[in-house]
Symmetry: D3
Subunit: 193 residues, 6 copies
């Protein structure tokens, strides 16, 4: 059986890519052992590829009050609300690794209220879901409530910005029918020896 | 009376900005006569600013089967569905100018079914709204239907990509309570002498 | 190019109308400089026309605790929630004129939370939207909350009555595809000399 | 036990009413044996009362392609969708009487798909519910489909107009917490000897 | 005219049924004077029939803090929210009989906020509707609030369990298009001599 | 750290259980290697426990046109739509095992349109989701469409019955905050040697 396509659109071969795009892919392959399909599929349009990952890195690698695991929780929870297969599976794997917890990604993807996370993290995820689903209703009370949980205004921008960025990302994944790499489904589920 | 703030977050002074960010602002000011608040407010985080406008330009300035007015229609229709004041007002102005039509922006923002646009444009906007609101339901029938209206697959990526990018943009505007410049409300409504 | 039709139904000529219906139109034409299409299109059925405007006037011209601008805010906010092009455009114009504010109509049509209105007006609009969208959920707490903002019970009837009347009006406009007069789009946007 | 109030607002005594309003009530009392609470409660504002019933009569007593029972079906189905107790109970009774059918009102109030009505009536009710719930989506296909079931354009105005009028009526009933007369619950359920 | 079918599926004759299933039917016929269609239609699959009624009885006949009328209120309110004709009509009849109140069933089916029930019963029904419609949002605050109304944790299981069981029951009724017996429409509406 | 509770309600010890309930648990423990929490938590009420599993077995173990994997797909897809953590995780594991496919459960839980399943299975899941989410809208066209995919009417009862039963099951899991056993998260993900 042939493997199903990873995108509705053509996937460029590594040779055909601009140097910086290919370099980015080889770098992630080096670290992860495989190239996540989001790199391969979005490379169909190198300009958008560059902007996409620049935006991603600005939000996800930024220093600040949110841990890396918390940033991934936001991705997984909002992608869950948007029913985005690629992002749930790929970022679920990353969340499991950062949180060193094999269960939390599935919990957060389905219903953060039932997840093994702190009350502060639940407040963070409730706001992220509001940004994802009802952003026109955001008001000053939301900010006051998050500050009450110890979040700075820059943290709140991070939460909202990540939810907003993955609103874009989820829609792109659905548009092109981006398929998660099989490797992601298992990553972080089994304790390493 | 003091003018209301244009963002929940600090707005940097032009002097304090990195050179490339300031240059971009002066360029748009040169053309438009004023600096749209999306530049001033997002400049609070220069890295995200750069990625945001790089992504915007990659989609909105791209050559292809969609006219500039059609690209703005997608922005206005999806921002209308998301109740995003900044994007409706600012991109409504741009749409009026590109389309040389003082009525179409308000029509498209409220209900594209009642707008003075072509059946092909209605199909385009129906798909853009699906990407904005129900992207998990996108399927091959949507692609077939759009191809039937003469859209190429690259056009469809453009439509979906713009809807996806403004899903991000609308949420950022709501997060920071971005306020539209008063100039936008009137732009393109009065025929130039 | 021929102008698009202003209704899915026949529009009677002024000559063919009953005397009282024509008189009403000439009166509004005298004041506004043109006949709003709601008069021309609903005149297709004179009996309903008379009841419609009698109801409209009873609510909109009534003395009471709400200013004329506030009554129009309710119309614009609920018509925005119902995506009714005619009512947003026509009553948006009237709101701009009564409020002597070129921005408030677009703000209120999209998202009253972001509008330059008072907290009391926001409470008024929140309730109007509840009547428009979820009237079965109205309970005594809503009345208590509005009284806390200084509204009398008669004011609350006014708010709810206007929202209810435009629930009818919005649906009639959608049914017959009522088209707003082009004049409305610009009215009240430019300060008079 | 004292009877619960029939309105959140004061209910005028018959003596205190304007002559025409009182006459209307006595007329309906003569026919029905009791005064439906919609008359008593809306009489709190005689001007709105007059417009309300003039509008009601223009739509419900009009000659045309819809039978009286069909007009009441529209009221009951849309009031069911709006969860309006007064209108379901009062117009359910009237529907049972006009249709000489003790079951149809409860069927139509809950789910017209399961009701003992004709395919033509199902098409009528499907459109009425669209007007009640999603009127912005009405398009030419709806008109074509209804014409295919033998409805004239005037019939379609009737269907949509009744659905629109009861959008108002349902909201007024919810606003004032209008209570149905106990008599309505049983009317038309038992075959008369 | 032939009577409409009571199910989309074959309805077994009493003779053809397993002894225990037939016995159950004769027992209810003895008490009610007729066999409710839920027995006749679900008997198409005796194993599921047995489990269904065992579950029903375990919840509805259980001793505890909820009266029989209150249990039926939960059925009627949640079936109303699910637009299930059979359950509203059949259990509405039972509710009228248990509550000795000819009005409460129609009230609760449409909008419990307007029903002649106690504040404690309104809290019970609000929670039942949450279980019916948004069970993923249930949290500890719901339990705290119900305890504040005097409900024990076992009572809360009863409320939630009944709402959950009729989530199943409503869907089965819709699946097979189960038709309510005509007798139910009138039961409990007329005071017995 | 103590393990989080598996239910909001007391969990009986095996000793304290009725013989048949305990036997059922030991049987599943024998086969699976652990006792799924649904057994332990629902055993708080043995009568409901017995009815629940009798109903479950009648539907899930029944011979017919649906494979065991297909029955589990229905569970996983509808539990995904209901955001039910326990059922997604536990039945996702069972689905992986029956389908001998480590990916399909996550695909179906999030978005069956993107899953590696046949068109016939997509039609089955679309109908199951309609039963789960909008059962009042089921009509004869749904049956015709499923028959066109080769499903018998008994198969359709199976699809709808399973969706209906897990409407109950999902709500019970949310009510008691049933926690999935950690074992389920990994089951069926790694090919057995």
């Amino acid at each position: 059986m042939t493997a199903p396509p990873i995108s509705r659109y053509p996937v460029p071969s590594l040779d055909a890519l601009p140097e910086d795009v290919r370099a980015r892919m080889l770098e992630v392959q080096e670290k992860a052992g495989f190239i996540p399909n989001v790199f391969l599929t979005l490379a169909h349009r190198p300009e958008e590829f560059r902007a996409f990952f620049a935006y991603h890195d600005a939000l996800m690698l930024r220093d600040g009050g949110l841990s890396k695991a918390e940033r991934e929780m936001i991705v997984v929870a909002t992608s869950g609300a948007n029913d985005c297969l690629y992002c749930i599976v790929a970022h679920g794997a990353i969340l499991r690794i950062y949180a060193k917890d094999p269960l939390v990604a599935d919990q957060v993807a389905v219903n953060y209220r039932k997840a093994d996370v702190t009350p502060r993290q639940k407040a963070m995820l409730a706001f992220a879901l509001k940004v994802a689903l009802h952003s026109a209703d955001i008001d000053d009370d939301d900010f006051a409530s998050l500050r009450g949980h110890g979040f700075s205004d820059e943290d709140i921008w991070d939460i909202g910005g990540i939810a907003a960025f993955f609103a874009l990302s989820n829609r792109m994944a659905d548009l092109i029918a981006m398929r998660p790499n099989p490797e992601f489904f298992l990553l972080g589920r089994v304790p390493r020896a």
